[in-house]
Amino acid sequence: MKKQTLTHAPPPFTGTEVYTLPNGLTVILKEDHTAPVVSLHIWARCGAIDENPRIYGISHGLEHMVFKGTTTRPTGEITRLIESNGGLMNAATQLETTHYYIDIPSYGADTAIDILADTILNPTFPQDELERERLVILEEIHRRDDSPDATLWDEFSATVFKNTPYGIKVIGNEKTVSAMSREDLFTYFRTHYVPSKLNVVVVGDINKTKMLKRISTLFAPLKEKTPPPTPIVDLSAIKPGRVSLKKPIQLAYVAMGLATIGLGHEDVIALDMLADVLGGGNSSRLYQKLRETDKSVLSLSCDYLGFQQKGLFAFFAETRPDKLETAVKSLEVELAALPQNPIRPDELKRAKARVKSDWLYGAETPHGQASSLGSLSVLGQIHHISTYLKRVDALSVDDLMAAYASHIAGKKFSLATVEPKS
């Protein structure tokens, strides 16, 4: 068994231990006795990008089905066991990852890890449960269609990442969800839920020696199997696009951005900070300009969203419909004028303070710590845990302007809007 200790990681991550079991499974453990709580996660490096058009939505469908029963635990038993131990469980599917977790008072931690292991090793995906859950997912699709924010994201990502795996709608569509079979689920599950694509993360009020022993025993039967290669996200043929959707809503929702570097790129921290300076808080440059001074938006944010291969640099805003064009124009003008009106040291200083304190707040709970560790580790980026704050501290205004010049300046942005039907 290989072991790595994150000795130089800042608190509260200092001393986090990362193991690789003989079958290739990654296990991350961190003791935190601040509260009598444990957060247990399984992160799988598979999501919508691993799907083909016939099975769009299957990663998400699997997420719904994993807790439905195992060879020894009938349907309903898993939720009953977790909740009767005071815990809560949930799961989430994204483009590159699927994530299962249980947060539980420490007296239930052993039960929780037993259940997580059982769901990964011995799921049954009962046919009758699939039929019922299919209806639930279809209802989730309808619910999503009623949300302007969700619709905006779907339209925007499909435009920015057109015809690439990052443009896939994670939830799938009515046709693929209606056709999803039990055999499809098993095939996808056996292909992708293999040790080298899985991370088990446990943070909280545990004895890590005992927890490691338990996890090693529980997951030992999981046999290593070479997974298929992750689909390549090639952006070379992508052209910026514009899309506008009309819905029976009141406000206009806008997303403007471009596909850019992924988490492994050396400029990623600078780009992340640039996004924060521009639209990361109420004192940020574009929030002040567009919301407070011009009054062209009701809310505004700017984000860098990093994926394993590529990333997204984007603005999201809500406006009154009559202000939409003005808001978009202002964003374009302000971005283009950045070289003439460069980032100021006081802006960077505030952004650093925001980012650093948010990092600490995010890591205040075992759940927050486990989420950061799992999401980065499963994509091969756990080094960010040790280096992120130091790299943020070291950034200069010149670094941010250089990132702007390399990745933003002169590039055309894609635009998506969801607007009221007239």
Binding site: A35, G108, R132, H142, D146, Q250, S283
Partner: protein, 364 residues
């Protein structure tokens, strides 16, 4: 418009305030609910005193500059419009209008187009003077700093000197809502893909002897994934993605509310099943095992919900402002443990026999 506290003080402009707060990585928030208004602040320990100074300034010395009021009024009016985009909000506001009669709980905290469009700096100053009074207020702090040196600073920032002429002001009167005498059923059509069902029964306030029992009953019926509503409506019949029940902790009176989003064609099936589930719990005792599981779930949720300083501080203040002791959390857990099978059945018979208000939204 309580959020206008953050849009400038007599000493700092809106922009300056935002910059000063964010330059130390702090968060200061302001929100108003049906029962209380709150200013909150969190920061890393090194800057906590500085953050508290700004929090005090925000609370006691808002500027309500006319241009800021005008801007935020426009934002508020847009937000009021945007509520029509959320099916849950549409259903719950319709429900509150019919459930709470002429009690203020019937009104949305955001106000309405009519009331919001008239708000001006004078109104805001008057309201501020009316609600920012020491009686009934509470300052709750959870920190790893030593309290003794902090107390002197707290006294300067929030102590008696800041409340010179407020003792004579009266608290707002409280009264029990005048609930409907007969059941009310509202059907409306709105431009959503989903249909939505919400049904509410009048329920007691936080000081009622039935408060804790009804919390257990609510959790048993709709509080988690193993609850009866979730199991029956989502897991067994695949009727909904969102389904549950809630019972807000309120000062004057509350409601037990069941909700679910579903396909329009399955509305009657859902209504019938909900009726059966409520009837079952009135006529058949729950098992000791099920009750014990629900209590464990509540206890665990309580622990999970009190992990951070922000959460702990919030709950200390919350219990107090609802008229209970700040340490009521521990009493609450003890009372949860004391709820019996008989208590559950008695509460179900009592409260689910009251006239209810049902709101049914169909896609337009």
């Amino acid at each position: 418009m309580w959020s206008l506290l953050l849009k400038g003080t007599t000493a700092r402009s809106s922009k300056q305030l935002a910059e000063d707060i964010e330059s130390i990585g702090a968060h200061i928030g302001a929100m108003a609910t049906q029962d209380y208004s709150q200013v909150s602040c969190h920061s890393i320990s090194d800057y906590f005193t500085e953050a508290l100074r700004m929090m005090s300034e925000v609370l006691f010395h808002p500027a309500y500059v006319p241009t800021e009021v005008e801007k935020e009024r426009a934002v508020l009016l847009a937000a009021i419009q945007a509520k029509k985009e959320n099916i849950f909000t549409v259903a719950s506001e319709e429900l509150n209008r019919h459930l709470y009669g002429d009690h203020p709980y019937a009104q949305p905290t955001s106000g309405t187009d009519e009331t919001a469009s008239k708000l001006n700096p004078g109104d805001l100053h008057r309201w501020h003077d009316h609600v920012v009074i020491p009686k009934g207020g509470v300052l709750s702090i959870t920190t790893n700093l030593t309290f003794k040196p902090l107390m002197k600073e707290l006294n300067n920032l929030f102590g008696p000197a800041l409340w010179p002429d407020t003792q004579a002001r009266k608290k707002l009167p409280s009264k029990t809502p005048d609930y409907p005498k007969t059941s009310v059923s509202i059907e409306r059509k709105d431009p959503f893909e989903q249909a939505f069902l919400m049904e509410a029964f009048p329920a007691p306030n936080v000081k009622s002897k039935d408060f804790v029992t009804l919390k257990v009953l609510t959790t048993l019926l709709g509080g988690g994934m193993s609850s009866r509503l979730f199991q029956a409506l989502r897991e067994k019949e695949g009727l909904a993605y969102d389904v549950g029940a809630f019972f807000p902790s309120r000062k004057d009176g509350s409601a037990f509310v069941v909700y679910l989003g579903l396909q329009a064609a399955r509305m009657e099936q859902a209504k019938k099943r909900i009726r059966e589930l409520l009837s079952d719990i009135q006529s058949e005792k729950v098992s000791e095992t099920e009750l014990a599981q629900v209590k464990s779930y509540i206890k665990g949720s309580f622990i999970l919900d009190n992990q951070t300083n922000s959460q702990r501080s919030y709950y200390l203040g919350w219990w107090h402002v609802l008229g209970l002791d700040a340490s009521y959390g521990q009493v609450y857990l003890k009372k949860i443990g004391d709820v019996s099978v008989k208590d559950i059945q008695r509460a179900a018979k009592k409260y689910f026999s009251h006239p209810s208000v049902t709101v049914e939204i169909q896609p337009k």
